[in-house]
């Protein structure tokens, strides 16, 4: 099977985050970036099925030059090659513009499956995968917790975890777009040999014109949603520390819940 995996490079949330001067995004200057966590699971799922069926994974990402690090990492763990939508016209877009560009890049080749993470750790729109599927005209499943490609590679049984621990299993006709949840598998590490091999693999950088897209249809120009401001939530006040041993503290807590909060 030929499998496309879309990955996004996001800030490492363990780092100190600062809002940028214009107040619409984070200060990226000294921010470390990583592959979005859900996407690492999508990549592993793609590699697993490519290996099981004798195919290959091509990895796609949209973003500035720094995204090359994420693509190299994907190549080091086993993707065959990468497509990087790095042209300035692609940047600064919402899920609609990003999905349109990625779908155009994916459509240039024949794939049996497109895998993405179900949402990104930075923006959490959770919409790009569905938009890609819309443009391709393929079925898609969100929040996927299990994939089983069936004999003949024409269909896949896909598990979704619903509320209250109920699993929904659906049979999806391929090609399809599956949006993967974290925890579905154990993403592999790049071996040092894999890293050495990665630098010899191809990373292509098509322009909007090469994808048959008008530059006004992608990136900031092609977006319908504008981020107005980004801010840290106000820290609350009024927290109370209950002193004493467990018995005393619990008694005090119950009294407060009854008399002050009136929830008991």
């Amino acid at each position: 099977m030929r499998i496309a995996v879309c990955i996004k490079q996001v800030p490492n949330t363990e780092a100190r985050l600062r809002v940028s001067r214009d107040g619409t995004w984070l200060e990226e200057d000294d921010l470390p970036f990583v592959i979005n966590e859900n996407d690492t699971f999508a990549l592993e799922e793609g590699l697993k099925w490519a290996e099981a069926t004798g195919g290959e994974v091509v990895v796609f990402s949209l973003g500035p030059d720094r995204v090359k690090d994420a693509l190299l990492k994907a190549l080091a763990v086993g993707a065959a090659r990468a497509v990087h939508l790095a042209d300035p016209a692609f940047l600064g877009g919402d899920a609609l513009a990003t999905g349109r560009a990625l779908a155009a890049a994916i459509r240039r080749e024949a794939f049996d499956l497109v895998l993405t993470g179900s949402q990104s750790d930075d923006l959490r729109f959770g919409g790009t995968g569905s938009i890609i599927a819309g443009h391709l005209g393929w079925p898609h499943v969100w929040l996927v917790m299990g994939v089983e490609v069936e004999a003949g590679h024409r269909t896949a049984k896909v598990t979704r975890e619903m509320e209250s621990g109920v699993n929904e299993i659906s049979r999806v006709a391929l090609p399809a777009v599956l949006e993967i949840q974290a925890g579905i598998n154990h993403p592999r590490y790049a071996s040092l040999k894999g890293i050495m091999a990665a630098k010899k693999k191809e990373i292509s950088r098509p322009t909007p014109a090469e994808l048959g897209l008008d530059a006004a249809a992608v990136g900031a120009a092609g977006s319908r949603l504008e981020v107005v401001s980004v801010a840290f939530p106000e820290s609350g006040s009024g927290a109370q520390m209950l002193e004493g041993d467990v018995k005393t503290a619990v008694a005090a807590l119950v009294e407060k819940l009854q008399k002050e909060a009136r929830v008991l």
Partner: protein, 412 residues
Amino acid sequence: MSRFPGVDLLELDALLTDEERLVRDTVRTFVDDKVKPIIEECHREARTPLELVPEMGALNLFGASISEYGLPGLGGVAYGLIMQELERGDSGLRSFVSVQSSLVMYPIYAFGSQAQKDRWIPKLASGEAIGCFGLTEPDFGSNPGGMRTFAKRDGDGWVLNGSKQWITNGTLADVAVVWAKTDDGVRGFVVEKGTPGFTSSDQHGKFSLRASTTSELGFQDCRIPGDAILPGTTGLKNALMCLNQARYGIAWGGVGSAMETFHTALTYAKERVQFHGQPIASHQLIQEKLAWMATEISKGQLLCLQLGRLKDNGRLKHWHISMGKRNNIWLARECARIAREILGANGIVDDYPVIRHMLNIESVFTYEGTHDIHGLIIGEALTGIPAYNPPIRDEKPARRTEPAPAAAGARG
């Protein structure tokens, strides 16, 4: 899963190649995912985390500088970054990899016969076999040239007698690279586990490197075949070449340990609230400590990077390595102690990694060449005067009777 964000105040990441960053990030993730969750328990139980060995083999962490036998052939900086990240996890774990790579695979690869290489390099690379390095003896640490272990020619083989102490992985090892005097000077030998007359036992009561096995090796009329000798060894200098490889990695390891204790202290200081609801990070005395650590770590990183570039250009001298090992283990020791202070009582319990690093680094401070001996190595490079062996008073002017110990201070 907590992800270590790195300590890079001088933007030195920009000086690394893509490949070097990827290598560093892979080992960093491995340490966060697989080492940190188990290492405190290993330290408590005084247990080497052998369950990590096959995965470290699969990642090519053993013998990563070798480019034959399907190994990746990494450059000096990438190799150093591996050691940095492993020591951020634990000095004992880094010691395991240093011994396997620099003290066992390197001498077999550099001085071994084709048969020795073919037999051992693939197994050591995968972790299927574990190796140890026997140079230090109970009475000969900083002065390995005084060793008493002797290999005597006997027909077409050799007979080994003597003992080795402070040998990392001694009782775990399938194969030992043992240095012994012969009628023909010091030579290296490959001795296999189970050879009659070869015994090993563990050192107990350690308060440091508890997640690592430290042993004593004994050789009593131990007969080894003629082809057990490493044919490329001609003297003590070959053992010292191994130590140079290992010590180079330790210079990087020191930075890794310091990054971990600094990061722990910084995180703690921002969360720990005392006096008027303010985090202790708002206190001037705490900020000064953090600033000192961050500055010394940045200097240590620069030192390592230059050592690596010199190594890759074939210009690295042994006294450069001494400067790196001496400075960076010192800075790791200071950072561990300062972090301990900042954490207060929490600094002495293993809910945090600080006390473990603080105890570990005491070993590293004096193994692989003590801090002081490395100072003398730099001193000799500066003055041309070796000061390892001071003249004995009331005697004739000192005459050097033992090989120059520029190499001094071993460890297996």
